[in-house]
C-alpha cells in the first residue's frame, strides 16, 4: 500500500509538471501576446516593445521557462499582467467559490440520481421509468448555457423567486448549481438504473428477498453499495472537471470562480494566471483521482493495491 502511494505520488508530480510545461509552451506559441492585449489599439510600437521587455517576453521561450521554473520552485508563479496581483493568489482566491458550486452541484446530482435511478430500476419499463429516462436524456443533451438562461428567465424574470447573479447568499447558489447538476444527474441516473437492474437480478439479492427482508432494506443494505463503484468513478472524473470551473455556468451567472478567471486570462494572454490556474487545477485533478482510487478499497474490500 505504502509503495503504491509513493508510486502514485511520483507519477502525480510528473503529470502536473507535464501539464504546466505544456501550457507554458502552448500559450507562447499561440499568436497574440500580453503586451499587445494589455495596451490595446492606441499603443505605439515603441510602447509595446517597452512592455514586452519589462515582462521578459523579449527573451527566448527556453530562457523564460528556466526563469519560470526557478521562481515556481520558490512558490512564485508571477504576477497577472492584467491585474497586477500575484497569479497564484488570484486563482486560490477564486477556488472556494468554484468548490462551493461544484460541491452543491455534485450533491444535488447525486441525491437526485439515486432517487430517480433506483425508482426507475424498481419500476423498470413502467410509465415512471419512461418519464425518468426522458428527463435524464434532456438533462444530458440540453446545452448548459441554454438551461442557465431559461432558468434565469423563468425563476428570476417571470416568477421573481431567485436572483439572477451574485454569490453571497444561499439563494445565489441554487440556479447555477441546478444548471451544473443537470447533465451529471442525467448521466448518473442512467448509471444507477442499469447498475441497479443488474444487481437486482443477482443471486444474493434473491437470497435476501427469500429471507423475507423488506424490499427497502434489500435495496439499501445489499444493492446500493455494490453499484457504487462505477458511480464513484464517474463522479471522480467529473469533480476534477468541475474544479477547473464551469466556464459557461460561471459566465451566465457571473459566478466568481476559477473558470471565469481562466477564460479571461487566456483571451488577454495573461500567461502567469493561466499557468497558476493550470497548476491548481492539475493538482486538484490528480489528488481527486488518487482519493477515488483509495475509495475503491473501502467500497469493495476485494480490491487491493500492491
Amino acid at each position: 500500500m505504502a509503495a503504491y502511494l509513493v508510486r502514485r505520488l511520483a507519477l502525480a508530480v510528473f503529470v502536473v509538471w507535464g501539464v504546466v510545461t505544456m501550457v507554458f509552451v502552448v500559450m507562447r506559441l499561440v499568436p497574440g501576446d500580453p503586451a499587445n492585449a494589455f495596451l490595446g489599439v492606441d499603443a505605439t510600437q515603441e510602447e509595446v516593445e517597452q512592455l514586452r521587455e519589462r515582462l521578459g517576453l523579449d527573451r527566448s521561450i527556453l530562457e523564460q521557462y528556466v526563469i519560470f521554473l526557478r521562481q515556481a520552485a520558490g512558490g512564485d508563479l508571477g504576477r497577472s499582467t492584467y491585474f497586477g496581483q500575484p497569479a497564484l493568489e488570484m486563482v486560490i482566491e477564486r477556488l472556494p467559490a468554484t468548490i462551493r458550486l461544484a460541491a452543491a452541484a455534485l450533491v444535488l446530482a447525486l441525491v437526485t440520481a439515486f432517487v430517480l435511478g433506483v425508482a426507475a430500476a424498481l419500476r423498470a419499463n413502467s410509465a415512471l421509468d419512461q418519464l425518468i429516462s426522458v428527463v435524464t436524456v434532456m438533462g444530458q443533451s440540453l446545452p448548459d448555457f441554454w438551461i442557465g438562461l431559461m432558468l434565469i428567465l423563468v425563476f428570476s424574470g417571470i416568477l421573481r423567486l431567485l436572483p439572477t447573479f451574485g454569490s453571497d447568499k444561499l439563494q445565489h447558489l441554487i440556479l447555477p448549481a441546478v444548471t451544473l447538476a443537470l447533465p451529471l444527474m442525467g448521466a448518473t441516473t442512467r448509471l444507477v438504473r442499469s447498475g441497479m437492474l443488474e444487481i437486482l437480478g443477482q443471486d444474493y439479492i434473491r437470497t435476501a428477498r427469500a429471507k423475507g427482508l423488506k424490499p427497502s432494506v434489500v435495496v439499501r443494505r445489499h444493492a446500493l453499495k455494490n453499484m457504487l463503484i462505477p458511480v464513484v468513478t464517474v463522479f471522480g472524473l467529473r469533480l476534477g472537471y468541475l474544479l477547473g470551473g464551469s466556464v459557461i455556468v460561471e459566465t451566465v451567472f457571473s459566478w466568481p470562480g476559477v473558470g471565469n478567471t481562466i477564460i479571461f486570462a487566456i483571451s488577454s494572454r495573461d500567461y502567469a494566471v493561466v499557468q497558476a490556474a493550470t497548476l491548481v487545477v492539475a493538482i486538484s485533478f490528480v489528488a481527486i483521482n488518487l482519493v477515488i482510487d483509495l475509495l475503491y478499497i473501502f467500497l469493495d474490500p476485494r480490491i487491493r493495491f500492491a
Binding site: N36, A43, F165, S268
Partner: protein, 522 residues
C-alpha cells in the same frame, strides 16, 4: 444649475442623444432639489448627505485601479469615482477647478497651479504640491514601472514645489494639450502610493473610497465622508459588478437587481423602452469605427485606390441598416464630441466614380486585398461582409479574415494588414491624442505619411492658444479626409439602462459614469 440647463452645451446635438426618458433624467439630475418627473415616479429630491446604494455594471472589467497608470475606460471609471485631478472638464468641455483652484500660463513653457487647501486622501495623507510632483515624476521617471500615461506628459521637464499649495510645471516645449491631459491625471498620495498595498487598495481624494475589491468580480466603494466638494457624493455605496452575459444583465436590470448598466444590446433597446421601471439613456461618445487601409504597401499606398474605396462603400446603408440607429455617420477622423473636431464633407456612395478612379490609377482589372477584423467589435462580421460585397462590384476583391482579438491587435500594431476594421476612441477628448498619436507618420501606425499633416499636428501640439490649435487641427483633418488611410464609418452612441429610482445621471462623452452626481429616490 448645470451647463445643460444654462444651454451652454456646445457639443453637437447633445440633447438628441439624451432621448425622451433620458432627457428627463438628465434634466432632473441637473440640480439638487429639482423635481424629477421621470417615468411618472414620485418627485425625487436629492439627498443632502450620502444615502442609498446602487449596483452597477460598467462596460469592462476593472483591472487597474491605479488611476495614474492607465487611461482605459474601466480605470477611468475608478478615476472619476475615487480620485481627483487638478483640472477638470465640465460637460461643455470647459476646464474647471479640481484640486487646483486656479492656474496661469505666464509664458508658453510655464504653468503655475494654486492648489486647494484642506484636502486629504482617503488614508489621511494631506494633498499638497508634493502630491503633484510625485504623481508626475512617478510616470516620467525613466525607470518607471507605471509609465502608461507618459505619452500624455512627455513634454514636461520639471515640477517645482515653491510652497505646499503651489505647483509649477515647466515644459521643454510649448505644450498645447497640457490642461486637457492634466485633467486625465489623477493625484496620488506620495507616501502610500509607494507601497505595494497601494495597487491592491488604492486611495485618492475622490468622492468615494474603496471598500472591497474582488478582482474580475466586484468593486465596492463607499462615500468619502471628508470629500471636499460640498454636497457630493449623494450615494452611500456603489457596487460595480461584473455580469458578462448580456441576457443575465437584462433580466437583472428589469428585476431591479441592477440599477445601472452601461451598454445595452441594440436588440434589447425596444424591450427596455417599453419598461416603465427602467430608463434608457443615450449618450455621446469619443469613439469611432473605421476601415484602416495600409498606406505603406500596395494597393493602398496609391492614394487613388484609397479614394476609390471612399466612394465604393455605402456608409449610410451601414449606419441605418446594419447598425440600426445605434451610431451616427462619422464626418472626420475624430468623433464630433472631441475637442478640435472639424466636420468634413462625406464622400458620396458612387460605385461608377470608384471604377473610374481605379481605371485612372491603371487598375481597371481590379485589385486584391485582405480585410482583417475581430468579432469582439459589435456587428463586425456584417459590416465586413457588406463592404466586401460592395468593393467587389468596383473591382476590389476582398478576402475576409476573422481574427481573435489579441491576434488582430498584434497584426494591427505590426502593420501586417491591407485593411483592418478598427474601433477606436480619442480617450483624452483632445484631438491631439488621435490625430498625432495614430496618424503622425513617425509613430508608424498606418503606413500613411504626409509631411504637411505631420507638421500641422506637431505645430498644434506646440501651441497653447486654443483657437490657433483648433484651426491647425481643422487643416490637418481636411488633409486626412482627402488623402488619408481611412474610410471613416461612424461614431457610436452610448447606451445606459437605469432603474427608474436612479436620479442625477448625466451621460459624459468620455463615457465613465460619474457616480458622485447620482442618487436614488426613495
Amino acid at each position: 444649475m448645470s451647463e445643460l440647463r444654462k444651454g451652454r452645451v456646445s457639443r453637437r446635438d447633445f440633447f438628441k442623444y439624451a432621448g425622451s426618458a433620458a432627457g428627463v433624467v438628465v434634466l432632473a439630475g441637473c440640480a439638487p432639489g429639482v423635481q424629477a418627473p421621470a417615468s411618472g415616479a414620485a418627485p425625487a429630491v436629492a439627498p443632502t448627505g450620502p444615502s442609498g446604494e446602487i449596483t452597477a455594471v460598467i462596460r469592462q472589467v476593472i483591472n487597474i485601479a491605479d488611476a495614474a497608470n492607465n487611461i482605459g475606460y474601466a480605470t477611468r471609471v475608478v478615476a472619476h469615482t475615487m480620485f481627483d485631478a487638478m483640472v477638470k472638464r465640465d460637460l461643455a468641455g470647459n476646464f474647471v477647478p479640481g484640486l487646483a483652484t486656479s492656474w496661469e500660463n505666464p509664458d508658453p513653457l510655464t504653468w503655475i497651479f494654486s492648489l486647494r487647501e484642506g484636502v486629504s486622501f482617503h488614508n489621511g495623507e494631506e494633498f499638497t504640491s508634493e502630491s503633484v510632483a510625485f504623481t508626475i515624476n512617478r510616470i516620467l521617471d525613466p525607470e518607471s514601472t507605471t509609465p502608461a500615461l507618459k505619452p500624455l506628459l512627455v513634454d514636461i521637464d520639471t515640477v517645482e514645489t515653491p510652497d505646499a499649495m503651489t505647483a509649477v510645471i515647466r515644459t521643454n516645449e510649448p505644450f498645447g494639450p497640457m490642461l486637457n491631459n492634466l485633467s486625465m491625471l489623477m493625484m496620488l498620495p506620495p507616501e502610500y502610493a509607494q507601497t505595494d498595498e497601494y495597487l491592491e487598495k488604492p486611495v485618492g481624494t475622490g468622492p468615494f473610497q474603496l471598500e472591497e475589491w474582488v478582482k474580475g468580480n466586484k468593486f465596492v466603494v463607499e462615500a468619502n465622508p471628508n470629500y471636499w466638494q460640498e454636497g457630493k457624493p449623494k450615494l452611500e455605496r456603489v457596487t460595480i459588478v461584473e455580469v458578462p452575459e448580456p441576457a443575465t444583465r437584462l433580466v437583472a436590470l428589469e428585476r431591479g437587481e441592477l440599477d445601472f448598466v452601461h451598454g445595452i444590446q441594440p436588440e434589447d433597446m425596444e424591450r427596455l423602452e417599453a419598461n416603465a421601471d427602467v430608463n434608457l439613456v443615450r449618450g455621446p461618445t469619443y469613439t469611432f469605427r473605421q476601415f484602416l487601409m495600409n498606406g505603406g504597401r500596395p494597393p493602398f499606398n496609391d492614394p487613388l485606390v484609397r479614394q476609390a474605396v471612399y466612394h465604393a462603400i455605402d456608409v449610410d446603408a451601414m449606419v441605418n441598416d446594419i447598425m440600426g440607429g445605434t451610431v451616427e455617420r462619422a464626418t472626420s477622423y475624430i468623433n464630433a464630441n472631441v475637442w478640435g473636431f472639424a466636420a468634413q464633407t462625406p464622400y458620396p456612395y458612387d460605385p461608377d466614380r470608384a471604377r473610374e478612379i481605379l481605371a485612372d490609377a491603371g487598375l481597371a482589372d481590379g485589385v486584391d486585398m485582405e480585410l482583417k477584423w475581430t468579432p469582439r467589435d459589435v456587428k463586425a462580421k456584417e459590416l465586413v461582409e457588406f463592404s466586401i460585397a460592395q468593393l467587389e462590384e468596383v473591382g476590389i476583391r476582398g478576402k475576409s479574415i476573422e481574427q481573435e482579438h489579441t491576434v488582430w491587435l498584434e497584426d494591427l500594431l505590426a502593420l501586417d494588414w491591407d485593411v483592418q476594421l478598427v474601433s477606436g476612441a480619442t480617450s483624452t477628448g483632445d484631438a491631439d491624442y488621435t490625430l498625432r498619436r495614430i496618424y503622425f507618420s513617425g509613430n508608424n501606425r498606418t503606413g500613411w505619411a504626409n509631411e504637411t499633416y505631420d507638421d500641422l499636428v506637431t505645430q498644434a501640439a506646440r501651441t497653447t492658444d486654443l483657437e490657433e490649435r483648433k484651426e491647425l487641427y481643422a487643416q490637418a483633418q481636411k488633409i486626412a479626409w482627402d488623402d488619408g488611410p481611412n474610410v471613416m464609418l461612424f461614431e457610436d452612441i452610448a447606451t445606459y439602462g437605469l432603474n427608474a429610482r436612479v436620479q442625477g445621471f448625466e451621460p459624459w462623452p468620455d463615457e465613465p459614469p460619474r457616480f458622485a452626481d447620482m442618487w436614488v429616490s426613495s
